[in-house]
Symmetry: C2
Subunit: 345 residues, 2 copies
């Protein structure tokens, strides 16, 4: 209500429509609205059976050695697809090395993880399951666990028809990718890109204009407003060690190329208002502060307070609607299901 009124006023006073069209043209050259259908993924045809299986697996804590953690523990769909922690807590109360990225819209990222070391979600999904500080499981134990429950055997057969031995670690990852492909969250920004002038406040539109003009969109562009391309954190000026710890050299670890030291994938910014704390280090809780750090370190810009407010208003317009996800009823363990172990190796 208040929003429509503000637009109406702005329209009559400063002739917003022409500006809005210019801004939209410029935005559409840089960004893209979310699709209305489940995105296709490489070498993994998505079917309803695969999505349902993937949902069960995503929510199943028995993928972890301890039985404590599921994918949904650190990628909590109720809290923006992440865990609202500096870095995640995993097996044995160990702390992970980097802030958990959101699973929402992640299928549309060019690559996965902060350093892009997994080319897609089916490659990504296998990482945390095996990481000692996360789920601390092994592919062999996962397969034995899943095969011990007749319902899973049926679900894998339905999701991977014609395969002689469908219950595999790779198929687990494919099914999880299929479910994650449904986690698309259309936001006011999409409505606006699609032509609904009233979907963005004046502040959000001003923030969008700043986001483009100042150069933020040079890295944070495309359908996920980021999530593709690698850039040094501290292009103009390195932030302090509390935000950019010296020990984590980012993509250097993947490519072993000196120029990739402290290089990270540009963070996808959809639902950013839901996913504090920020940066790979998870050291900054406040979105306006994160925006200011980015402006200084990447662009050498000291934002005026009202500019920060407007950019944050634009970022707020990237908060989307969660799809309806019902809690799955998982099959019970059987006599042959490996028992959870909380021991730390």
């Amino acid at each position: 209500m208040r929003r429509s009124l503000a637009i109406a006023l702005a329209t009559s006073v400063i002739g917003l429509p022409a500006f809005a069209d210019d801004l939209r043209d410029s935005a559409l050259a840089t960004f893209k609205p979310l699709p209305s259908t489940v995105p296709a993924v490489a070498e993994n045809p998505i079917t309803p059976e695969k999505i349902e299986l993937g949902k069960a697996l995503f929510f199943d804590p028995r993928l972890s050695a301890s039985g404590v953690f599921s994918c949904a523990s650190c990628h909590n769909l109720a809290t923006g697809g992440d865990d609202n922690m500096e870095t995640s807590i995993g097996h044995g109360w160990q702390k992970g090395p980097r802030n958990a990225p959101t699973a929402l819209n992640a299928v549309l990222n060019e690559a996965q993880f902060w350093d892009g070391r997994a080319e897609d979600l089916k490659a990504q999904a296998k990482g945390p399951v095996q990481a000692g500080v996360e789920m601390a499981n092994t592919p062999e134990n996962v397969v034995v666990t899943l095969k011990s429950m007749p319902a899973y055997t049926e679900w894998f057969a339905a999701a991977f028809p014609g395969e002689a031995d469908p219950v595999t670690f790779d198929n687990m990852a494919r099914a999880i990718e299929a479910f994650e492909a449904t986690l698309i969250t259309p936001a006011p920004f999409d409505a606006w890109l699609n032509g609904d002038d009233a979907a963005l406040s004046d502040d959000a539109k001003a923030g969008l204009a700043l986001f483009i003009d100042k150069g933020c969109s040079a890295c944070h562009s495309g359908v996920n407003v980021g999530g593709h391309g690698y850039y040094p954190f501290g292009l103009v000026e390195k932030p302090g060690a509390e935000v950019l710890p010296a020990g984590d050299k980012g993509r250097f670890k993947v490519t072993e190329t000196a120029s990739d030291e402290y290089v990270f994938r540009a963070a996808p910014l959809r639902n950013i208002a839901l996913t504090a704390p920020y940066f790979h280090s998870g050291k900054v809780w406040d979105l306006p502060v994160a925006v200011e750090i980015m402006a200084e370190s990447q662009l050498g810009e000291a934002l005026k307070p009202e500019e920060t407010v407007q950019i944050v208003a634009f970022l707020d317009s990237l908060t989307g609607a969660l799809p309806e996800i019902t809690v799955p009823a998982l099959p019970p363990e059987t006599a042959t299901t490996p028992r959870p172990t909380q021991k730390i190796e």
Copy 2:
């Protein structure tokens, strides 16, 4: 299909209808089908607003000091309302003292916890939030956390209309109780109690007859097939220390009465097939073994193998349908939200 055929055969051969009616009369004198509406609870009128708020709280890991655990962590609605662990893992990877009971249908228990120390779910809900080995939070910190998020303030106002200061620890517990009251899981046994002869297999019916005749239903009765009344574990013969550890004296800790040593509330048996491992100690993973231990320790009976099979078939008929629960979209933290702490005090 197979089930109806079996019934038809049995009917023509041994005149099952009369037997079924006798058994049903006898069962209805001991058990009760689940209600088709949300049960009323004492001093806590249930409204849609309170249920919605309670669902958000139930799923919110920010009720724990660490941000790792929500109610749904140990009472996982995807896995039978419990966590499939001997005893739960909580703050700092500490192990809880007793097996987590299911939250499903718990509203219909006479009292809560294995020793009945909470008279209802609104009393129960306050326990784990404060327990050092579980969520390790304080009522004060919970209230500050909830008040820091404007959406919660609105939701509490809608759920507790007319209250000057609705965001309280007690109201948190009331809302959680209201949500939990919706966790009712009608099962084949209910359909059969309600008159559907085909809802139970012959084995399940024979198991039900044994369950009554042998005396199991002397303790495990009522709508939850247990969940009310306190009985010594090992009435006839104490099970071994691995199942009944000497250190946990059960209800004795609540009443400090010598006769309450090793006394526990009769476990409610709905969804028991989903909630291994069994007993307050969580030491037995296999349902048939648990049934045999009970028969020996409580009734002095050595069950024949086929009797165990039939009783387990009856217990399987208590596995119900999970209500449709959609993952809530929780509000984001703000600048005044207390940050999670993983420190162990």
